[in-house]
């Protein structure tokens, strides 16, 4: 049994901005919608899954109005839909992450209390799949361009989704997920929209075969200059495995 502590919650990304440093708690709740199916003559209640799942995240922590922090992300957010990603298992490449294809921000609370620091809370409801994948590049500064370490899935699979979240101060770059069957020859699997100055999250699906090994490649794109101060996260969800 592997246990994880709060120190291993390595990022909580909303549209490319990491707010984990302001949070004291968040809860990701998923539920299956059911309908009561017992009838006259039944002595016990019965419930059946109607085929629809839903998710909700509630977060709470400290109010912080720094640029790129929680107030910046959430104050204009109610009603907005963003890609959400978080990791509870530390900073290593290959660890599990959770991706929300879309999280509709439902509310934003600022809470002032006597003899206490001001707090901030928000919640999101799912707008699309909520899925688990492997971290190919944990959220951190991209110190250099080039291909990063490979993640070995042991088997190939079919279909999936790539997640990119980034925050950049200037310029433009290319981010691709590569795959390989032998960890020697690689080809493009997913090519993300070029990150440029600003912050955003993107989820791109693929229906084809995903080979056993995957990796991320960052290269410069020159249209608006070399990218500067890029922080990024890249992850890959495999929807099914095949031998």
């Amino acid at each position: 049994m592997t246990k994880y502590g709060s120190d291993q919650c390595s990022f909580f990304l909303v549209a490319g901005l990491d707010v984990v440093g302001t949070l004291t708690e968040f809860e990701d709740r998923r539920e299956a919608r059911t309908e009561e199916t017992h009838t006259l003559g039944d002595a016990w209640a019965e419930h059946s899954f109607v085929g629809v799942r839903e998710g909700e995240i509630t977060q709470s922590g400290f109010y912080d109005d720094d640029a790129g922090s929680v107030h910046d992300v959430l104050s204009s957010g109610p009603g907005a839909t963003n890609v959400l990603s978080y990791c509870l298992e530390g900073t290593a490449t290959g660890k599990n992450f959770v991706g929300w294809a879309g999280g509709v921000q439902v509310n934003y609370h600022r809470i002032a209390e006597r003899d206490a620091l001001t707090k901030a809370k928000a919640s999101y409801k799912g707008n699309g799949p909520i899925e688990q994948g492997k971290t190919l590049f944990p959220y951190k500064a991209v110190g250099s361009t080039g291909r990063k370490n490979t993640v070995d899935n042991l088997v190939s699979s079919t279909g999936g989704a790539g997640y990119l979240q980034y925050n950049a101060s200037a310029g433009e770059c290319n981010v691709r997920i590569l795959h390989s069957s032998n960890d020697v020859a690689f080809a493009d699997l997913i090519v993300f929209t070029k990150p440029a100055s600003g912050h955003a999250g993107e989820r791109i699906t693929t229906t084809g075969s995903i080979k056993r090994y995957t990796a991320v490649d960052f290269t410069t794109a020159s249209a608006t200059g070399t990218i500067a101060a890029l922080n990024a996260f890249v992850g890959l969800v495999r929807t099914s495995s095949a031998p």
């Binding site: 291909r147 493009d188 090519v191």
Partner: protein, 70 residues
């Protein structure tokens, strides 16, 4: 032998020393393998790692190019 690239971004190490180390099972970070520039679909290549060719053909990533003798 030459091969036509059938997938976008095909890239691989070309340094024989790196290939020997990989074949021996050594773990080398991807950024330190001296990978070639990614090839677009349609490129003709003649420097594929020998040990990868059969797998690349089976995966449909490359195909042999008939050489015209004349």
């Amino acid at each position: 032998m030459k091969y036509r690239v059938l997938v976008d971004g095909l890239t691989y190490p070309t340094d024989p020393r790196i290939l020997r180390r990989l074949a021996a099972g050594e773990q080398i970070p991807l950024g330190k393998r001296g990978m070639c520039e990614p090839h677009p679909i349609g490129d003709i290549v003649d420097d594929l790692p020998r040990g990868s060719i059969a797998g690349l053909i089976a995966a449909g990533w490359v195909e042999p190019v008939e050489e015209v003798v004349g």
